[in-house]
């Protein structure tokens, strides 16, 4: 209400303005930020973008309460900028380009309205303030979209990493192998455990060979998780065999007083597989002529 009382005549004139064809003038920021070297859009797309923006801003300025940022007209503008932000990010652009486009669009819009109407909008503090407040909110919408997109990308990357860090393979009916490569930390061990237990349940695996050949370091917490993993596998009714324990890891396990009672270990993956086959009554032999 206070804002309305302070509104100048020029602001009142802005809301009753019959906006002419300013769409062409508003294409310039689009060309500058999206059609230059980065080629994020072509000229036709920029023209459509400007035209859509003019329709939406005309709708807002001519609405019942142009100050209200919860109106459907303003929401439509927010959606417009969110969509634009999403489109640009998907095409390899960055959020800075969209923000700078929105800022440039704001200045160009005020100048274009001034030229079109002959009213000195650039001289009016209330008009400038009105647009600044609205464009700030629109820029926030751009950032929100950027953050959501970034979060989605991180989630997808995390999921991809999770899949590649737990390459569980069914090497024989009921025999799973899990080569663990790289550094084992607590969160990764938990991921591996989750994936492995679900896979045992899904495939009804009777033996799991966990190969640690690619693991160079292990700490107290991780070694406990590893033993927990073996226990969980056994609790599900499958046999767990650990293979490829490096001398350093063997020493670490001993010095950490890790109880390996009931845990089957073998020197190499091949020995582990032989043990798994033996337990399942599978006999693999070389064909002789």
């Amino acid at each position: 209400m206070v804002q309305k009382k302070d509104s100048s005549e020029k602001l009142a004139a802005l809301f009753t303005l019959k906006i002419g064809n300013i769409s062409g003038q508003l294409e310039e920021p689009g060309r500058e930020f999206f059609c230059a070297d980065n080629k994020l859009m072509d000229e036709d797309e920029v023209a459509d973008l400007s035209s859509e923006f003019v329709t939406l801003i005309t709708g807002l300025l001519g609405s019942k309460d142009p100050h209200k940022r919860t109106s459907p007209q303003f929401h439509a503008l927010e959606t417009f900028f969110s969509g634009l932000s999403q489109r640009i990010l998907m095409r390899g652009g960055n959020v800075e380009e969209v923000v700078r486009y929105a800022q440039q669009l704001q200045y160009t819009l005020i100048s274009a309205l001034e030229r079109d109407s002959g009213i000195a909008f650039t001289q009016s503090r209330s008009v400038l303030l009105y647009f600044a407040q609205h464009f700030d909110a629109l820029i926030m919408a751009i950032f929100r979209t950027y953050l959501v997109e970034r979060e989605n990308t991180l989630k997808a990357q995390e999921e991809e990493l999770r899949e590649t860090s737990t390459p569980i393979a069914e090497i024989w009916d009921g025999v799973l192998t899990l080569p663990i490569i790289g550094t084992l930390d607590s969160s990764r061990t938990m991921l591996v455990m989750e994936a492995l237990l679900n896979r045992i349940s899904k495939d009804h695996a009777r033996a799991v060979v966990m190969d640690l050949t690619g693991v160079k370091n292990i700490d107290s917490q991780v070694s406990h998780h590893l033993i927990q993993m073996v226990r969980a596998v056994q609790l599900m009714g499958a046999d767990a065999i650990i293979t490829g324990i490096h001398p350093e890891i063997a020493r670490a396990l001993v010095s950490l007083n890790i109880d390996l009672t009931g845990v089957t270990t073998r020197a190499s993956l091949s020995d582990g597989l032989k043990e798994a086959f033996l337990r399942m009554g599978i006999h693999v032999s070389q064909k002789t002529n």
Binding site: L197, I200, A205, V233, Q234, M236
Partner: protein
């Protein structure tokens, strides 16, 4: 066979399948164990398959019940085998279990 809160089925010579229902009250374990022992003795039970299929989590209280049951079975020369343990249950149980449990585990009832 009638034990309140439990489905007990004879599935072979000396083999019994124990399926807990949602109405089973483990606070009343003395009665449950007593009735079960009677059935196992009458049926000359050798193996008791405890189906954990419907149990998403095994907490220390539930593990205490399984442990008591398995120890009782041991005194009767009946082997208790927990089957169909869910990944989440195996995970939670492995968190607080120090050694191997008294009961055996299997993926399911052997063919």
């Amino acid at each position: 066979m009638a034990i309140a809160g439990v489905h007990l089925t004879r599935i072979g010579k000396g083999d019994f399948l124990f399926e807990p229902l949602s109405s089973m009250n483990i606070q009343d374990q003395d009665r449950l164990i007593l009735e079960l022992v009677e059935h196992l003795q009458q049926g000359q039970g050798r193996r008791l398959y405890y189906d954990l299929n419907t149990l998403p989590v095994i907490d220390p209280v539930y593990y205490g019940w399984l442990d008591s049951l398995a120890r009782t079975c041991q005194t009767l020369n009946v082997k208790m085998i927990c089957i169909n343990m869910q990944p989440t249950a195996a995970f939670t149980l492995s968190q607080f279990l120090a050694g191997r449990p008294v009961f055996e585990t299997a993926l399911g009832i052997p063919d």
